[in-house]
Amino acid sequence: MKELRLMKGNEALAEAAIRAGADAYFGYPITPQSEVIEYLMANKPEDRTGMVVLQAESEVAAINMVYGAAGCGKKAVTSSSSPGISLKQEGLSYIAGAELPCVVVNVVRGGPGLGTIQPSQSDYFQSVKGGGHGDYKLIVLAPSSVQESVDYMRLAFDLAFKYRNPVMIQSDGIIGQMMEKVELFEQQKRVEPDYEWATIGKKKDKPATFVTSLQLQAEEQEKVNLRLQKKYREVEKNEVRFEKVQCDDAEYLLTAFGSCARITRKAMEMARAKGYKVGMLRPQTLYPFPTEEFNKMAEQVKGILTVEMNAGQMVEDVKLSVCGKTKVEYFGRFGGMIPSPEEILNALEQKIIGG
């Protein structure tokens, strides 16, 4: 029989990191993310796989430890929640600029500032458009269940190493704190890094390996940027992930990601029960965004409602995707408030079906 466990989203992320064969976790506690580091400390992965778990002196230190480990070709992961992720932005920009792989988890809480400890999705722009400086992209995965938290941790490492790019798992207070049953994958072996780009010592006849995000010559820095952009086009071509629910006959479309997609799905079921032909398109990757799929659906439906636990962020990408082919409206709650399925249904009726 397969191994089923009841786990919190945060614990599931931690267990999945161990099983994915991570070499190191560096982090700093913050609600609603603290169970990640708690679980790792309690589970002593050092005894299980040799994985290092360290509580750093700050979020800034943690991301720079990740930078260092990644430079040596190690599988490194850090996690935090919104204010802590803001502190990590410099490090993320450097890691993206130096083209190194790593996984960063953001269990989002309400902002701005210290905000609230309640769930939110207000870091969409920060994750997707780049919270740090420079033309860089994170690959952003948005789990909407505890199971997806497990699955995306493994996927995140795969993508990070495939593209040598930081990958963000954008969870939130709901997904992090809730318990659901999960099926865990088998323990993966930790591997000794043997990459050209990793600073792990070199033979005499090989040129020196540099890990840097600095090119003083503009011509060289432009080359770096062109290489990054080429990589991002590849990512956009290969890595778009989404889920469609009852879209075949849909006349109206709901869209949401992460925990909000769960609540929105309930609203969709309620709308169906009232006789409205409503479907749902849920981006699983926030970058790369399922642009083409939205564009296709725009030809079919009379309107799209994006539901978000923020003041309307993903709605901009939806609008860019549909190029004005259909009406796009936004509904959301924010600052740690969670929309109810009834509110979403009401917004759908007011703004899309009746509007």
Binding site: L4, L6, T31, P32, T116, I117, Q118, G173, I174, Q177, M178, M179, E180, K181, S259, R262, I263, R265, K266, E269, G336, I338, S340, P341, E342
Partner: protein, 184 residues
Amino acid sequence: MTEEIIIAGFGGQGVLSMGQILCYSGVMQEKEVSWMPSYGPEMRGGTANCTAIISDDMISSPVLNTFDTAIVLNQPSMDKFEDAVKPGGLLIYESNGMTRKPKRKDINVCVIDAYDASVKMNNTKVFNMIVIGGFLKIRPILEMENIIKGLEKVLPERYHHLIPLNEEAIKKGMEIINVENQLN
């Protein structure tokens, strides 16, 4: 079958673990489950609640505003969640420390004096298991054998010798729950 439950009370009454035990037992009975705690400021103020959903089908929203069943263990929780019970739903309250009776007439209401029973069992820690027993008497959605399996999963191994005591408490709860208002 889908049962959407809110369990609320003071911190220390075992509210969060009641939800976990129901959910783990649900897993053992091959149900879909979801458990969502209050972890915000209300928890830091001493009251706690959790939403537990047990269903035959995929669970969409883990966060709800209305419930099939509310189990309330103190007056602030009754004040907050009495109105959140769906019409025709179930409200179970623990009579100790309550200053008023539920007002709703369109729901089923049951009362359980679990604290008193736990004192008589010489172990107030089984208070929450007595309440679970009462709930399962009214809504028999889980088999006893699966609850025992659930307890084995939730409790650390060093406490497994207490499982028979917990089973006894569940049975006690089934005996002592009283129906106050029953709809047809």
